[in-house]
């Protein structure tokens, strides 16, 4: 195994990490701001893929399917938050039961609407080619995934760190009651953050649909991986989600390449190790 092999594995790991960042950053923000453990996050991912498939079937446009799926899932998320989650408050057990219930509901609904076949989202021909960089053939679609995740990450960072809304979101993470005590409408913040998290998961579903596929059960496959990202990075931290996504993406790819029989071990071992040593994650708060 030469340098070539390693570089390709690392590239693949980073591009998978880029996809995981889209899913994990939303999950992390939702938990950080609202203290909600959202077990329906994998369903948002899967529904994003299915909505995109329907949009492509109806219009033939992959480009249109991306915003349509992300916005569609965001609207679904807003409905879930306003109608149901707001009522259960900060009771973790009830949140878990409620979001898990919806995850099963969404799974069955997806099965009824889109059937049980394995489907694939085909990106435009321009993105299916490869580019040659330093003798390495890199699939252009994976380059696109990395660029998109980087752009989204930068945009999120700018909003969170450089705007008044971002400061209000961080104030709510710091001390939600006190935030209300200085006039920050934390219910509005919750809706914005939940919509954003669902948007990112839906976006991930479209982007990931081209190389993971779209099929029943994908929701519950991506969910624990997204949690691994968030647990490693630390709940509520954008930088943490980025680092966690890279760690999990690389561990997954290198693990599958080196010890295929132990793939799940290399995927979750870093998480277990970190939980034992630093339960708040790399960048999490106490």
């Amino acid at each position: 195994m030469g340098a070539h092999f390693w570089l390709i594995q690392i590239f693949n790991g980073i591009s998978y990490g880029a996809l995981l960042f889209l899913v994990g950053s939303g999950l992390s923000l939702i938990f950080g701001v609202m203290r909600i453990v959202n077990l329906a996050h994998g369903s948002f991912f899967l529904l994003g893929g299915y909505i995109a498939l329907s949009v492509i079937a109806a219009t033939g446009s992959w480009e249109l399917s991306i915003p349509a799926a992300a916005l569609g899932v965001a609207i679904l998320g807003v409905g879930l938050e306003r109608v149901f989650l707001r009522r259960v408050g900060f009771d973790v057990l009830r949140q878990v039961l409620l979001t898990a219930g919806f995850a099963f509901l969404f799974q069955q609904a997806a099965l009824d609407i889109w059937g049980g076949d394995f489907m694939n989202i085909t990106p435009p021909a321009a993105l299916t080619r490869s580019v040659v960089v330093g003798g390495l053939y890199l699939p252009l679609y994976r380059v696109f995934m990395i660029a998109l995740a980087a752009a989204i990450g930068l945009l999120l960072w700018l909003v969170l760190e450089r705007t008044r809304l971002g400061a209000a979101i961080r104030a709510t993470v710091d001390d939600a009651e006190m935030a209300r005590g200085v006039g920050i409408d934390t219910q509005r913040i919750s809706v914005v953050v939940f919509a954003l998290g669902a948007f990112l998961a839906g976006l991930g579903g479209v982007i990931g649909g081209a190389f993971l596929g779209v099929y029943p059960g994908l929701d519950f496959e991506i969910l624990p991986i997204a949690f691994a990202v968030v647990i490693i990075g630390g709940m509520g931290s954008l930088g943490g989600a980025a680092v966690g996504a890279l760690v999990v993406g690389l561990a997954n790819n290198l693990g599958q390449a080196l010890f295929p029989a132990l793939a799940y071990f290399t995927l979750y071992a870093p998480m277990a190790l970190l939980l034992a040593v630093k339960p708040t994650g790399l960048f999490g708060r106490e």
């Binding site: 008044r164 400061a167 961080r170 104030a171 001390d175 200085v182 006039g183 409408d185």
Partner: protein, 232 residues
């Protein structure tokens, strides 16, 4: 003349504990009203009732004549009730300036420039994270943040807690000046002798009820109330 803030016979529970047992008080315009009492007599529960964190089960709270008993904390802030909470509770990961900006309202006399003019120290530290400030600076920030909401009435819960005498002296001058500029202040204090230097009128709290009311001069000479309810 009706008071700016009128608390009328409120009964508030904290969990299962029956804390405020029929408490009434009125804060007039441009006045500093002191509420004194030992630890655990319900001072902070009174604050939480007034700002809406723990609404009372019975009784009413009027602000500028409007019943705000069931109004949310955010709604009360928008109507002009400002809070400087016990323990300061600045947003630790936000910078000094962000702490002020998130509380800012578009209308009213307070903005960043005026807060920095009042507390030059905050201006010098504007980019620092709030958690890295000293206790005195955090208290200035908590007050500045409360002022940024453009309150007509500022509720201050134990502002002297944990601060050095020299810092408190500066703080007391600032609070006095805010009153002279027309702000009405409800000052909750455990440290009675400190509070008496500042307030225009005072209530003494014990077991969730007001047990004494008077001018600070009268309380100064009332040894029985002082030793029985304030421990001085």
């Amino acid at each position: 003349m009706a008071a700016l803030l009128e608390v009328d016979d409120i009964h508030t529970y904290y969990g299962d504990a029956y804390v405020l047992q029929g408490l009434s008080l009125g804060l007039g315009d441009g006045q500093i009203l002191g509420v004194l009492g030992r630890n655990g007599v319900g001072k902070t529960t009174l604050v939480r009732s007034i700002v809406g964190f723990n609404p009372p089960r019975r009784g009413t709270i009027l602000f500028k004549g409007e019943d705000v008993t069931r109004v949310s904390p955010v709604g009360r802030v928008r109507r002009g009730v400002g809070l400087v909470p016990q323990g300061r509770r600045v947003f630790p990961t936000l910078s000094v300036e962000e702490n002020l900006i998130v509380a800012g309202r578009r209308h009213g006399g307070w903005d960043l420039a005026r807060v920095y003019a009042t507390f030059p120290r905050l201006g010098e530290r504007r980019t620092q994270r709030a958690r890295s400030l000293s206790g005195g600076e955090q208290q200035m920030l908590a007050i500045g943040r409360g002022l940024m909401t453009n309150p007509e009435c500022l509720i201050m819960d134990e502002p002297s807690e944990g601060l050095a005498p020299i810092i408190i002296e500066g703080l007391w001058q600032t609070i006095g000046k805010l009153r002279d500029d027309g702000l009405s202040i409800l000052l909750i204090e455990q440290n009675a002798s400190l509070a008496l230097k500042l307030v225009d009128y005072v209530h003494v709290l014990s077991k969730g009820r007001i047990v004494y009311s008077g001018h600070p001069k009268e309380l100064e000479t009332n040894e029985e109330v002082k030793s029985r309810f304030l421990g001085i």
